[in-house]
Symmetry: C2
Subunit: 517 residues, 2 copies
C-alpha cells in the first residue's frame, strides 16, 4: 500500500468521511487515493479559507473532525485565518498538507517553504511524516489528537514521495478517548457558591451550550438565582423553542463591564473568562469585576453536561427554563430596511431546526437578542475574530446537516474575504440562505476610528474604511458563482425574499441594502 | 509624536509613498496617522493577498518598496502566499502588521496569535517594536532591510499601544546602500569560459533581465556564441522591440532537461540554478546536465549590469541583438478561440510599453515564445509557485505605472484565489486589461494526475479538478466588483475586445471561453 492510500484508509477507519480540499500537484497521490475511496466525500473549495472554515462548520455541527487537504506552505497559509477560528472554537480538525518530496526540498524549488513553521501558530499539534512506513501511525495520531481536549487542530504534513511510495501499513486506532469527568471538588465548590446566595453567573460553552447542558443549567439558574451567560463569541449555542437562554458578553468594553457588574462569582463551564476583544487606552483588559472570583467547573475535554446534571440534582427540581426569557416570537418588520428590521423579521422567520451563522458584526448588534424567541435553532459565531468565516462556516454546517436550513448572516466587508464559498454551495447544492448586510463600509472601523478621536476622517482614512466607489453588487457576485440571488431594499421585500429562500433547494443569497447606517 | 505618526513619517522619509492596506481595529492609530499624511497614497485591498501581491507588482516595476498594512496574525496569514511570491521575486517590501497591545496579549483575546511566528517563514527579516521609543529606529531598519541584498521582505509588527502612545522620535536613515560590485575574479572567470568555445549559457534575472543588462548580454551572446536563458519563472523581463531575448527553462521536466542538454557552463547572473518545480518518481531534481559547471557572475545585490558591460568590453563590438530571435510580429489569429490563438493575437496586439502579468499556466504554454516579437513590454511571472498572484500583481504594477497598459493573462482557477483585486482596479481606475482563460478546470492537475497513472479519474478526483458544475461566470464576477467585462468565444471576438480594452480608461476584463482543451 502506498502512503496516500494508507492516509485515506486510516482517516476512514477513524470515522472521517468528509474531506474539504484544495489540492495541488504535490497532493496528486492523495487525490488518486481519495479517488479510490468513494466512501469519502470530497468537497472542493476554490480558496483555502473556504476549506478550513467549512471544516470548522462541519465539526461544530457533527462534533467530529473532517479532514482538510491543502497544498504546500502557501496553500496552508491561505487557510490559516479560519484555522485560527477553528482552534478558538475548539473544533476537531485533521489538516493534511502536502509538501515537496523530502529529497527535493534542499533544491529550494519555487514553492518550497517551511510548512511546519507555517502550521505551528495555528495548530494544536503539528507533525511531518518523514517516511512512508510512519504515515499510518502519524495519521492515526492526528485523528486522536483532533478529538482530544474537547477539540483540537491537528496538522499532518505529507511530503509527495511519502505519499506515492509503497510500504505503508495501517495502524489500528486506540479506542476513542471519553470525556474526563469534571473534578468532584469543582462540583462541590460550585454547589456551595450557588447556595451562598451571592450574585453568581455560569458561563457556558462547548457541549454545555447545547440542549443537554442548557436544560440542567436552566434548572440550576431557576433554583439558585444564578444568571446564565455566554462568551462574547461562541462556537455553537442551541436556542429558541423555550430552551434556557444564554446572555453573551457585549463587544463594547463599557457595555461589557456594565453587563458583568455586581457579579461576585463567575463559574466557567467549558468557557474562557471574558476579556476585551481589543485593548483601548484607559480601558481594562479583563471584563470581570475586580472583586469577582472566577472558578472552573469544567474545562474543555471534561464532561460539563454531567457536572451540570450533578449540580442540578442538589437543588429542588424546577422547570428548566431560565427566568426572564422571551417567550413569544416578534412580528414581521415593515418599512425601512434597517439592521434591526432584519433582526426582528428573522426572529419571526427562522425556521425550526435552522443553523444560523452570525458574522453580521456591526449590523448584528441586536440580532442575538431579537431572535431569542425564534423556533429552535443553532447559533454559530466568529470565534477567533478573524473575519471571513461566515460563508465557509455555513457551507460546512450545511454539508454536515443537509436536511436543515442554514442561514448565513453576513457583513459585506467580511464576506469578501471568502466569497468563493458561494461556489461550493452551488456545486454541492447546499440549502443555505445567505443574507448580505450591504452597508458598503467597514462600519466597525469607522466606529473604532471615531473612538480614537478622528471624527472627520480625510481621504486616506475614508479610502480604507469605505467599500463604495464602486459599490459591490452581490447579486452579480453570487450569480457569477452559480448562486441565485436577489437585492432587497425594504423590510417587506426582505421578508418575502427570505421566506421564498427557505423553499429553494440549494443556496440563495439576499443582498440587503441597508445603506450607510 | 505618537508611534503611528513616527512609522508613517519614517516611511515617507525613506521614499515610501504608497501603502497597500487592509487594516483592522488594532491599526486605527496607524490609519489616523496615514490620514494626517496626504502625501502617502493608500490603496485598499478587500483581501490581504491582494495587498501583498500588489506591493510585489509595484516593487517589480519601481524597484523600490511599497508598504503594506495588515491586521494581526490572521490578516497577515491571508497575505502570506503572495508574500512568498514577493520573497522569491526578491521584491523589496515593508510589511507593517498591527497586533494586540503588548499588555493585552497575555489575556489571550480571541484575535491573539503569534504574529512573529506567522511572519517568519515568509519574511527575510521580522521584528516587533516593543516600545514607542524604538518604533522609529525599527521602521528605518525595516526600510533599509527591504532594499538590501537585491530586495527583501521586511516585516515590522507594531502593537496597538506602541502605535497610539506618545514618545516616538524620528531617526535619520543611513544613506542608500549601493549595489556591491561583482567579484573581479567572477568577471575574469566568465570571460575565460566564454572565450573557451565550450557550450555556455548565461542565465539572467533581476536587473540583468531589464534593458540595461540585456543589451550587453546580447553583445556577449553574439560575440561568444553563448545562449541567453531565463529562469522557469521570472520577476520581470524586458522584451520585444528587438531587445535580446531570454529563453526560459520549460516547466515540464523532460523538456527542461532537453532544453539544457549539452551545456557545459551555466553562468548565473542574478539568477538561481534551474530545478524541477516538483519532484516526480524517477526524475531528477536538478535540471542542469551532470557535466555542466555552474558558476556565479553576480549574486542578487551585486551589480550584474556593470559586470555584463565589463565582459562585453572584452569582445569585439557587435550589434546587441542575440542571434536567432523573432523579428516580425505575428498576424492576428482567427477562428477557434484556443490558447495558442490568444497567444498569436497577443503577439500582434500587445501595445508598446505594456506590462504583462503572466499567470496563464497551462493555457500559456506557448505564450512567451509567441509574443517574443511584440512591441516593447515588460513580462512579470509567478515567481514562487503560489497561485493567485496575477490580478494583484497587475493591480500593483498599474499603480506603479498608471500611464502604461497592464495586461493580466490569467488562468481561471488561479484567478479565484484573489479575484477581489478587480475591485481595487475599479476603485483606483487602473488601466488593466485582464484576460481570463476560462477552461473551467484546474487543468494542470488533470495533467499531473494523468502522469501519476490515473487516466480515467472517478468522481472524487474529478470533483477536485473540475471547476464546472456550476461554471464560473467571469462577466458577472467582474461586474459585481465594478469592472466592465465581456465574454468572447472566437478569435475574432477576442481580437476586437482586446483592441477595444486598450482604449478603456480603467480596468476591463475579457472572459476567453477556451473550453475544456
Amino acid at each position: 500500500m502506498n502512503g496516500a492510500d494508507c492516509v485515506v484508509k486510516t482517516l476512514m477507519a477513524g470515522g472521517i468521511d468528509v474531506c474539504f480540499a484544495n489540492p495541488g500537484t504535490s497532493e496528486m497521490a492523495l487525490v488518486a487515493a481519495l479517488d479510490r475511496s468513494p466512501g469519502m466525500k470530497c468537497v472542493l473549495g476554490l480558496f483555502e479559507g473556504v476549506v478550513t472554515g467549512a471544516a470548522d462548520g462541519y465539526a461544530r455541527m457533527t462534533r467530529k473532525p473532517a479532514a482538510t487537504l491543502l497544498h504546500c506552505g502557501p496553500g496552508l497559509a491561505n487557510g490559516l485565518a479560519n484555522l485560527h477560528n477553528a482552534k478558538r472554537a475548539r473544533s476537531p480538525l485533521v489538516s493534511i498538507v502536502g509538501s515537496q518530496a523530502t529529497y527535493h526540498q534542499a533544491f529550494m524549488p519555487p514553492l518550497q517553504s517551511d510548512v511546519e513553521a507555517t502550521a505551528r501558530p495555528y495548530s494544536d499539534w503539528v507533525r511531518t511524516s518523514l517516511t512512508t512506513q510512519d504515515v499510518g501511525l502519524d495519521t492515526a495520531l492526528a485523528i486522536k489528537t483532533a478529538s482530544h481536549n474537547g477539540g483540537q487542530v491537528a496538522s499532518l504534513i505529507v511530503p509527495a514521495n511519502v505519499a506515492w511510495q509503497e510500504g505503508a501499513s495501517l495502524r489500528s486506532l486506540p479506542p476513542q478517548v471519553a470525556l474526563r469527568a469534571a473534578p468532584q471538588k469543582a462540583i462541590e465548590d460550585t454547589v456551595a457558591i450557588l447556595k451562598s446566595g451571592e450574585p453568581t453567573a455560569l458561563m457556558l460553552a462547548g457541549d454545555a451550550a447545547l440542549e443537554a447542558g442548557l436544560r440542567p443549567a436552566g434548572r440550576i439558574a431557576r433554583a439558585s438565582g444564578a444568571s446564565l451567560r455566554a462568551m462574547m463569541f461562541n462556537p455553537r449555542i442551541s436556542r429558541g423553542g423555550g430552551l434556557p437562554a444564554l446572555v453573551p458578553v457585549p463587544y463594547n468594553v463599557d457595555q461589557a463591564l456594565a453587563s458583568l457588574a455586581g457579579i461576585k462569582h463567575l463559574i466557567l463551564v467549558g468557557a474562557d473568562a471574558p476579556v476585551a476583544f481589543f485593548a483601548y487606552p484607559g480601558k481594562p483588559s479583563s471584563l470581570v469585576p475586580a472583586d469577582c472570583e472566577i472558578s472552573v467547573l469544567a474545562s474543555p475535554g471534561e464532561d460539563a453536561v454531567a457536572a451540570l446534571e450533578a449540580i442540578a440534582s442538589e437543588f429542588p427540581k424546577t422547570a428548566d427554563a431560565a427566568p426572564g426569557q422571551a417567550s413569544s416570537k416578534p412580528t414581521l418588520a415593515s418599512g425601512d430596511l434597517t439592521p434591526d428590521a432584519i433582526s426582528q423579521s428573522l426572529g419571526a422567520l427562522i425556521p425550526e431546526g435552522a443553523i444560523v451563522t452570525d458574522e453580521a458584526l456591526t449590523s448584528g448588534r441586536n440580532l442575538y437578542a431579537m431572535t431569542a424567541a425564534a423556533a429552535p435553532h443553532d447559533w454559530l459565531q466568529l470565534t477567533g475574530g478573524s473575519i471571513g468565516i461566515g460563508i465557509p462556516l455555513a457551507t460546512g454546517a450545511a454539508v454536515a446537516c443537509p436536511d436543515r436550513r442554514t442561514i448565513c448572516l453576513q457583513a459585506d466587508g467580511s464576506a469578501m474575504y471568502t466569497l468563493q464559498g458561494l461556489w461550493t454551495q452551488a456545486r454541492e447544492r447546499l440549502n443555505v440562505t445567505t443574507v448580505i448586510y450591504a452597508n458598503s463600509a467597514y462600519a466597525i472601523l469607522k466606529q473604532e476610528l471615531a473612538s480614537m478621536g478622528v471624527s472627520n476622517p480625510g481621504r486616506n482614512a475614508t479610502d480604507m474604511m469605505d467599500l463604495g466607489r464602486p459599490d459591490l453588487d452581490w447579486v452579480s457576485l453570487a450569480t457569477g458563482m452559480g448562486v441565485e440571488a436577489k437585492r432587497v431594499t425594504t423590510a417587506e421585500q426582505f421578508n418575502d425574499a427570505f421566506k421564498a429562500s427557505l423553499g429553494v433547494k440549494g443556496p440563495f443569497l439576499i443582498e440587503a441594502a441597508i445603506g450607510n447606517r
